[in-house]
Amino acid sequence: MTDHTARQLQQQVQQAIAEQQPLNIFAGNSRAFYGHPVAGTPCPVADHQGIIDYQPAELVITVKAGTRLSEIEQTLAEHNQMLAFEPPAFNESSTIGGCVAAGLSGPSRAFSGSVRDFVLGCRMINGRGEIVQFGGQVMKNVAGYDVSRLMAGSLGTLGILLDISLKVLPRPASRLSLKFDMEEAAAIKSIRQWAGQPLPISASCIMQEQLLIRLDSTPSAVDSARQKLGGEIIDDSIWPRLQHQQMDFFQQDKNLWRLSLPPATAPLNMPGEQIIEWHGGQRWIHHEGETDIFALTSSLGGHACLYKTRSRADNIFQPLDTQLMTLQRNTKQAMDPMGIFNPGRIYRGL
């Protein structure tokens, strides 16, 4: 296997280090809206692409970071397998590297886990311009610190992801989507009660006075859950639209906030439309008003992120207290001492 593209990227990083010139790393650019803009030399990584190894029997796929999500999902589907964290792909050019770096997961998050949970290992370029490798292709590994998981969600600020090994899962044998007409408070209460029981609820969504749920399991387990829960059967097309954020709600030209809250948190009573996912744990709201969303979520034991914004914002991610911020900066310092990878994309100084 030629590693030409990896070597090219390594050279670019080494040059950036020598010149102390930061890099703005991007692949499909489908997530450019997410996080602060970065001033740096453009560093495209999408050419480093292709599936390196896929072992359906091992439930593991190893891919170059520039590989498109669509290609990966299609390959997995041929073997009746899937990326169980249902990553949002914002357009055809979305790559797996961008997906892991952004750390965004889809509707099944509360049931299957997050993208991080599925990263088994990675090869990357670090802040000294070295190619290093962490984790591996096996399901469990406690040798040394969990650096590959640290890369997930770090938005390219700790290094350039080259190759990623991911755990994949078989597709469910049976799927059924249900709708319940209920007000938000009742819906939050119902999903909370159901999520506390061993029911195969793989996704939920509360919007427009409706609670939508998806059941994924064996036919008889889906059947028995259906009998227990009732509701009206709807078709499954809502879930991919929610996953890839294709609904009108996500397209509006307004500030879009993503709130992570303890799932049982009562309705927020904020003006404007909301979408609640992850059994109450994730809440999307359009908000332009004065309310300090960061303070609000923090007081509720959660955190917030200004997911999409029309203008520049001082803070996109929940501000951290001094101690934690120092430790985050120290972690960055260990990985990227010259500060060349996507400086400021998450926080100033990272």
Partner: protein, 458 residues
């Protein structure tokens, strides 16, 4: 030891929380690796503030600090090889909040795994990590080692089942990472970095754990095979069906031989055994069991047994439980490794281990968590036999080489500690280890937290 340091500690803690008597200190110097080193002082903090102040004092006086749960670890991570201070969490053992509505529990680090399971079970929940030592080991130790058990095949280990940590870094700063939500990362995921770091990055003072609803009932299944190859194919086939079992354990032919000698009813032609647990309710449970039975019938399958009630299930697991005492009968000491390889490489691993066993004349018995390739490799030796001890070390070296050749990892759950530290170079390169040291330095600039453990020197 520096008396100024002692004075500083006495200002932080009342006398009854400080142990300086040699006889008392002795019991805090070992773990299940059978290594031992005497700490200079032992402290039993009650609060996070006390923990932070003690760490700060150790930082200021550059005194080595080793955190201690119950010392059940097998790799020497809690043995205070540099002397210094041992911080035992036996008195920080309160369940702070059982939050059933949000499916989480917040505990102090000295709470045992079993106490968590009991508190959770009252609300129909469980915490996924299920080490066999659950009755004794603490949440702090579990998190520091990223411990796990059979359930990990379906539900993951500590890293996937912890929402929030409060911890104290090597400078005595208190940090809170993660949040009380299902989706809990702001900035870098330091929670996961601290989990599995064996007390070398930060001292955990409080943990919020993610709970899962308990299934209504379980079926236990037992399958035998005429070869390890056949059993490994069955493992892949079982894992490929949509409903992942909640346990998928195996035993190799030498393990079967042992339990046969102890009277277990295993046919003579069986060369490998799988034990599988599926969960669910009513007809769905039987359907899940049927799917597994179907998948398990690969070429080379000999026999299937399904337990239909708790008593029959206990009988099936009994075979597995008999194994440890049987091992002890053969040899006074076992070197117990917990390597990981891709499932399809399990036969090659077992073959290679059998060859090494013959070559070094050391019985090697293998069993463990087949579903995720995490195999417990047991070298049975007599520690009084100097020759055998030396060849055991060489044999172990070869075992690790074999594992790396098969794209595996040296440990899946027992950790690195001291026992495996010097083998880590087989798995991680110098650049990788340098980077880990750089991280360690940022968390613990004076290298007081469990120095010498986990990471080999540069």
């Amino acid at each position: 030891m520096d008396t100024a340091f002692h004075k500083a500690i006495k200002k932080i803690l009342p006398a009854q929380q400080i142990l300086t008597d040699e006889a008392e200190r002795l019991t805090y110097g070992y773990d299940n690796s059978r290594r031992h080193a005497l700490p200079d002082i032992v402290v039993l903090p009650h609060t996070e503030r006390q923990v932070a102040d003690i760490v700060k004092a150790c930082h200021d006086f550059k005194v080595p600090l080793t955190a201690r749960g119950r010392g059940t670890g097998t790799t020497g991570a809690t043995v205070p090889v540099r002397g210094g201070l041992v911080m035992s969490f036996e008195q920080m053992n309160k369940i702070i909040n059982m939050d059933a509505a949000n499916r989480m529990i917040t505990v102090e680090p000295g709470v045992t795994n079993q106490q968590v399971q009991q508190a959770a079970a009252e609300h129909g929940f469980f915490w996924a990590p299920d080490p066999t030592s659950a009755a004794f080991c603490t949440v702090g130790g579990n998190l520091a080692y990223n411990s796990a058990g059979p359930r990990a095949v379906k539900y993951g280990s500590c890293r996937e089942n912890t929402l929030e940590l409060r911890a104290v870094t090597g400078t005595g700063e208190i940090i809170r990472c993660g949040t009380h939500t299902t989706k809990g990362v702001v900035g870098y995921d330091l929670t996961r970095l601290i989990i599995g770091s064996e007390g070398t990055l930060a001292i955990i003072t409080q943990a919020t754990l993610k709970l899962l609803p308990k299934a209504e009932s379980k079926y236990t299944l037992k399958f035998t095979y005429n070869s390890m190859d056949a059993a490994a194919r069955a493992v892949s086939s079982i894992m490929a069906q949509p409903d992942t079992p909640c346990a998928l354990e195996f035993m190799d032919s030498r393990a079967l031989q042992l339990i046969r000698e102890n009277g277990a009813d295993i046919s003579a032609d069986a060369a490998a055994l799988l034990m599988v647990e599926v969960e669910g309710r009513g007809s769905a449970l039987q359907q899940a069991a049927d799917a597994v039975i179907q998948a398990a019938r690969v070429e080379g399958h000999l026999h299937t047994e399904q337990a239909r009630n708790a008593e029959e299930a206990a009988q099936i697991w009994q075979a597995r439980k008999q194994l440890s005492p049987s091992l002890r009968k053969i040899a006074p000491k076992k070197i117990n490794e917990d390597v990981v390889v891709p499932v399809s490489h399990i036969p090659a691993l077992i073959n290679g281990l059998n060859q090494l066993s013959d070559q070094y004349r050391i019985p090697i018995v293998n069993f463990g968590h087949a579903g995720n390739g995490n195999i417990h490799v047991n070298l049975l030796i007599n520690p009084d036999d100097k020759m055998q001890m030396a060849s055991a070390q060489e044999c172990l070296n070869q075992v690790f080489d074999l594992v790396i050749k098969l794209d595996g990892s040296l440990s899946g759950e027992h950790g690195v500690g001291l026992e495996k530290r010097d083998f880590i170079y087989k798995e991680l390169g110098a650049a990788e280890i340098r980077l880990m040291h750089a991280i360690k330095k940022q968390f613990d600039p004076h290298n007081i937290l469990n120095a010498d453990k986990t990471l080999p020197a540069l």
